[in-house]
């Protein structure tokens, strides 16, 4: 008797769901088109998770979600409200720009999220924006788009994360003056000042390259670069390891001219101030990175002229085409 009641209950409970369930619209089709990610040969190989290949449908969906406040639980803002294209997908403040993040394996200033872009995007949607899935599910357009990207009628946080990760992977900046200089076909040369700055950056004199080196201008690791005598917890907040105190994610210096103020707490307004800091403002602390080898004398001790060269070089990392790349623009305002 008890059993039949239970069975009946289950039936009654599930019935409305069965009837409510929309049949797949005949117009829906799951046949995703591979998306060709383009970047120069001198960039590192971009690793893409096998379970989330980049597709035209996925990238477009991710782009829409990036610009659509529907993702936010109160619809008050979109990702793009803070991550604005005009500022290299950042905005004045401590907002980390979105630029070549496909090559990153740890995210946020303190490394809270370690893993792939899918992992950070899951965090951004589910935990930060607290996306209300039902609003997407009941939307006139999104369910079809999710179906076309992932072949699933049900929209999940994982699908959102995958779509946004696909879009993020297309956010590639590789057309700064420095990139053009590296490309032998372009006949672009650095000015004397810029080249002298390059030499400071890529030699032990400035020694910026050991952390901000390589073509990505970040080692994607965590360091204490000597900002404070009593550093903030940084990575140790996540790992609990006292040796991680004061260690923060090395930001890329690509488009650095456009993404001030600087450092995780926005303490420096200008690049001049940042250079002064590295030149004579370093503070020693037990976890300061051994690569900050001049910390004992306050910094790398540049002359005013040398500071100018270094600044001139940093400005060769600006890629204005990235700020106007139509493929990354708001898809709702065309």
């Amino acid at each position: 008797m008890k059993r039949t009641i239970l069975l009946l209950g289950v039936l009654i409970w599930t019935l409305p769901y069965c009837t409510k369930e929309k049949p797949i619209d005949p117009g829906w089709e799951y046949d995703p088109t591979p998306f060709n990610l383009e970047y120069p040969d001198f960039f590192p190989i971009l690793e893409i998770p096998a379970d989330n290949p980049t597709t035209v449908q996925g990238v477009l969906l991710g782009r829409m979600l990036y610009y659509d406040p529907i993702l936010h639980k109160d619809s008050t803002e979109a990702c793009a409200s803070c991550h604005q294209q005009a500022f290299s997908f950042s905005k004045p403040g401590n907002i980390i720009p979105h630029i070549n993040l496909g090559w990153s394996g740890a995210f946020l200033w303190n490394g809270k999220i370690q893993g792939t872009l899918e992992d950070i995007m899951l965090f951004e949607s589910r935990d930060f924006f607290e996306t209300d899935l039902s609003r997407l599910q009941n939307h006139p357009d999104y369910p079809k788009r999710f179906y076309e990207a992932f072949g699933d009628k049900e929209i999940t946080y994982e699908h959102i994360a995958k779509a946004m990760a696909q879009f993020e992977r297309t956010m590639i900046s590789a057309n700064s003056k420095y990139d053009q200089y590296l490309d032998p076909d372009q006949f672009v040369f650095l000015e004397d000042e810029e080249f002298l700055g390059y030499d400071i950056f890529f030699s032990e004199k400035g020694d910026c390259f050991h952390c901000h080196g390589g073509i990505l201008f970040t080692d994607n690791r965590f360091h204490n670069n000597g900002l404070d005598a009593n550093p903030e917890p940084g990575l140790s907040e996540i790992t609990g390891d006292p040796f991680d105190v004061g260690r923060f994610k090395t930001p890329t210096l690509r488009n650095i001219e456009l993404t001030g103020p600087y450092m995780h707490d926005s303490r420096y307004e200008t690049l001049e101030e940042v250079i002064d800091f590295y030149s004579e403002g370093l503070k020693n602390s037990p976890t300061v990175d051994p690569l900050m080898k001049n910390v004992y004398k306050g910094g790398i001790q540049l002359t005013p002229q040398e500071k100018g060269y270094l600044l001139a070089f940093l400005k060769t990392l600006t890629d204005t085409t990235y700020l106007h790349n139509p493929a990354l623009e708001d898809p709702f305002h065309e």
């Binding site: 040969d41 001198f42 960039f43 590192p44 190989i45 090559w103 394996g105 030499d199 890529f202 030699s203 032990e204 004199k205 020694d207 390259f209 050991h210 080196g213 390589g214 073509i215 990505l216 080692d219 994607n220 690791r221 040796f243 020693n284 037990p286 990175d289 051994p290 690569l291 900050m292 080898k293 001049n294 910390v295 004992y296």
Partner: protein, 248 residues
């Protein structure tokens, strides 16, 4: 009839298997395990527990390096060469080097390169992975990659002031500076279809002594473009390794 056919196959294949058993010795594998120490003491990072020949107490923070060109050699001079580069990073990578498919015989020495040989140590000589890009050696006029980044801190005697050391080795101009190391294998390593293990002891303290007592204060923290410093380290690094057979 069909059944009969299957029976024949069975007999035939067991014959093949049997003859395989009687075959001559077969290829085997060697696995090399890197075992760190600092002057015979256990390696513990971020702890001022060591004292170097020049008299400073020091700590080890990071160690990243390449090993390549592993070669096993027999007494008759024949050798087995593994054309592969291994990146090692303390606390991150698996500290073992697999040498697969080694022809049978008794090997009495192991050689390898600490760093990269001249053909590999050129710009773009290694695949464009994130790891290799972080090892680039970008100084003007030079090329290739860091062979090693060995970083830590030392204390000045007296004041106890802490300073950083960066033992970064690589090529300066045309001086390649990679280290070729050859170690005898006591009692030999007998390969015959088996997997043998070797322990490669790596004493980090040797970078700071033997033959050259390394004084952090004398050389200073910037040695990438200093060929004298590179040569001193090259000689020291050559004594940092020894082999211990792990098989009874």
């Amino acid at each position: 009839m069909k059944k009969n056919y299957a029976f024949h196959i069975l007999i035939l294949s067991s014959l093949v298997l049997l003859s395989a058993c009687q075959k001559e010795a077969t290829n085997g594998n060697v696995t090399i395990f890197i075992n760190y120490n600092v002057g015979g003491q256990e390696l513990v990072t971020n702890d001022f527990r060591y004292t170097c020949a020049a008299g400073y107490t020091f700590e080890v923070t990071r160690l990243q390096y390449y090993l390549s060109n592993f070669t096993l050699r027999k007494d008759d001079g024949t050798e087995y060469f593994l054309d592969e580069v291994f990146y090692q990073e303390l606390g991150t990578t698996d500290p073992s080097i697999p040498i697969p498919d080694v022809p049978p015989g008794t090997y009495t020495s192991l050689s390898f390169v600490y760093g990269l040989d001249a053909d590999t140590n050129v710009d773009g000589g290694l695949p464009n992975t994130l790891t290799n890009i972080n090892m680039e050696w970008p100084l003007s006029g030079d090329q290739g990659y860091h062979y090693m980044k060995f970083e830590g801190k030392y204390k000045l005697p007296g004041t106890g002031e802490e300073k950083a050391f960066n033992l970064h080795t690589g090529a300066t101009g045309n001086n390649q500076n990679f280290i070729e190391i050859t170690l005898p294998i006591d009692n030999g390593l007998k390969i015959d279809g088996n997997t043998m293990q070797l322990q490669l002891n790596y004493d980090l303290n040797e970078w700071l002594q033997n033959p050259n007592t390394w004084d952090f204060e004398v050389w200073g923290p910037m040695i990438m473009a200093n060929q004298d410093a590179q040569l001193a380290l090259k000689a020291n690094g050559a004594t940092a390794f020894s082999i211990e057979p792990m098989n009874p």
